[in-house]
Amino acid sequence: MQHNFPFSAIVGQEELKQAILLTVVDPTIGGVLVTGHRGTAKSTAVRALAGLLPPIKFVAGCPFNCDPAELAPGCPHCDRLQTSSPKVVNRSVPVVDLPLGATEDRVVGSVDIERALVDGVQAFSAGLLAAAHRGFLYIDEVNLLEDHLVDLLLDVAASGVNVVEREGLSVRHPARFVLVGSGNPEEGDLRPQLLDRFGLQARIRTLTNIEQRMEVVRRRLDFEADPEAFVLRFSYEEKKLRSKLSRAMKLRSSIQVSSEALSLAASLCDKLAIDGHRGELAITRSAMALAALENQKIALPSHVSRVAPLALAHRLRKDPLEPAADDERVRRAIGEALN
């Protein structure tokens, strides 16, 4: 059994943790891109996410992760079931890895080679996109992903449907997932279209506090020495976080947005000249999710201003002559908008 480093054992990096929690509370925010210095717990945090997710209901045996309450029309598996109330299993929300070097056939799904060779049957073997439906799709080093896979992802992320027309197969199944990526922009930039798909961007930096950094080393060593004991040591914190999350997820749909918060969101996007409306939507949804996390009923301007750097910094037009970092520019705009 492979143990993941517990989420609550990550030292510092509050912005990163918050961004991840927000997308768990509201998947419609549109995923997180985690960028930053080498070796700053980017992928550790994302992998730790799996431990926080609550179980949800699936149709038993459906390789496309169908929701029993709402069978996807055209699901190659569930359409063949004769009953409208199929068997149900509880599993935690999937977190699926899309590793570099993956081939297209594994991503979208393709002919089941084994059955084709042995039985001569044209069967479909579901890919990673199907496995990630209703969950998270994680791409480490997303900026290094090959272009043809990025094209595929963009296509599916936009439509929520994976259509496979290849090798004599014709399959379509729903594929709605939260995209989570991590990478370091110094290794090459992300394609603008893909960047725009991410609701939030968390930028993380090397910690500069000696005490914190010593704690990072200490926890890493403890974890390596005895992962099981380490996970146990943080199990109480993890449990607390899980219940906080599930409470926020329930609360989420009843959150109201104050008109001041709405107008702050709009004026920020206007002031920063952000193209399109994804920015406004992401910032408002994140503000609501934050309110839910903090057990409040109304999203206020303070919520908006706290999530604004996460939701807007990566949507700014890039200007090499602008010395300030993008999130600094957002903070400046918040300051101006509030005065």
Binding site: S8, A9, V11, G12, E14, R38, G39, T40, P99, L100, G101, T103, E104, D105, R106, V107, S110, V111, I113, E114, A116, L117, V118, G120, Q122, S125, L128, E141, L144, E146, H148, E167, P185, E186, E187, G188, D189, R191, T206, L207, T208, N209, I210, E211, Q212, R213, M214, E215, V216, V217, R219, R220, L221, Y236, E237, K318, D319, P320, E322, P323
Partner: protein, 594 residues
Amino acid sequence: MLPLPALVAFDTPRLALSLLAVEPRLRGIAFSAPVGSGKSALLKGFSTLVPDIHSIDLPLSSDTEALLGGLDIEATLRIGTKIFRDGLLAQSNGSALIAEACNLLPDQTVNLLLGALDEGCVRIERDGISRRLDTRFCLLTSFDPAEGVPRAHLLDRLGMIVTLPVVSAHDARAEILRRHLTPHDEEWSEELELMRSVIYSARQLVPEVTVSSRIASQLIEVAIAMGVEGHRADHFARLVACASAALGLRTEVTEEDADLAIRLVLMPRATQLPQTAPPPQAPADEPPPLSGDDKSQEPQSTHKEDTPPEPVDEVLDAITMELPAVLESLPFAHQRSGRAGSRGAIEGSRGRHIGSIAGSIRYRRLDVIATLRAASRWQRLRPKGRSRVCVKADDFRVKRFRSKAGSLFVFAVDASGSMALNRMRQAKGAVHALLAQAYVHRDKVALISFRSDAATILLPPSNSVELLRRAVDQIPTGGATPIAATLLKTLEIAEQSRRKGFKNVCLVMLTDGRANVGLQGDRTLIESELKALGRRLGESGVRSLVIDTQRSFISHGPGKSLADWLDGQYLYLPNASAEQLAHAVKGYRANTDR
């Protein structure tokens, strides 16, 4: 090949290997070394230190399939169920993976190595197979800095980075020769045996080694002062210090152990000269939340009071002397860290496999899997002979490759003269405009400035807007105009890029002046020097565009003749905006690409 103890003047590298043998969590070592310095013997020697570790070579040409593995078609057909063949990464579990010239490894290979080193496993999603295989290996690698630096991300994941000494002393050379010529086996086997037994004892001891919190915090202070990015280095430094103590058969880390950790782990990752003052960017709004941990175990307040221990300053002083050379030769310092990503990079002459189509196998490579897939759907209808699968010519699928035709633009900006800063801004703007389109054309851009007697690389070939922004704004200006030095620098960049597959290199030179510094210090030779260099640039496939920014109505003399010597194009663009400049460069590219 010489046994490990026989390598002359390699005490530090040998020590590094021993440390890795004691503490495999250090993941690996990168040796920076010129050719013929004995680094192969060093890399291969590692497995002689630990009897249960063997070496596996990572050839430069390994492709994704070789690294990750894939469907074993033959076995699959024979047995009738999917049989997976392990790739190099999975096979390396428990071994030492040896990669010579990691700076020349294809980007895709490095990407896969990064993931495997980080997670200790390979994730495979290929050929209808989904696997997660454990693989813990040590990566031993070397590079010749003259051929370009490896990616900082790869180096960052290796515990130690060691620059091999250039053995120049006459005595040392003679000794090397002597050891090569005389039979040596018995002479060294005893010494090797000794090393082995020390390592064996140290491995038993290392879990018991303790570090005082003073030394632990000193290591981190040094890392912060040198601007080391990320937290991997902290972890590695601690491991090296502990392993070093264990090698000394001690259970307490001493100052010497810490010093070694600084040298092998932290110094090579420095991005700045030590700043003894605490970094100003420490965000005040980020309290140290040590959630979930036993807080009483370490009262934070007491530590802050006794933070200024003098030893750190002493250590830093010693380092400051040696650091500039390190900053120069390794890729971590900011403006030099520009090893750009895989996007736009080119993998070999055949390009990337982008898919397969039906076709004749006479001229192209057969895609076995696609062929079998195509054949599979007819198996029911085809007569079964002795073989399990019946494949017909119609089923053949051949691989399509696309070779990416990216260009590298080298912007050389004249930093002599009064309008230098203006030119720099123009160039940066133009570079940015080109990068915005780099996704379409897979181009990269490099930025160099020249003044006085040298040309300096501000941005190595990259397609990262992020790095461009970081490339220094404030460059020293004024002085003479060393065009010849600039051309040499361009040649160097062009050569390095060629190895990575960039065929088109375009030099864009922004200048308003006349070349007035030659390579040989004789002004009358400047013209012939430039002509000769121009020819060499031409031979290397570098095309030149000279952009004259001189605001003068009188003559286009110097710029024009420079363009002629370089057999390049000449453009007169005083006061051009960045957009106009980018437009001109794009136009030039469009004209010459045909």
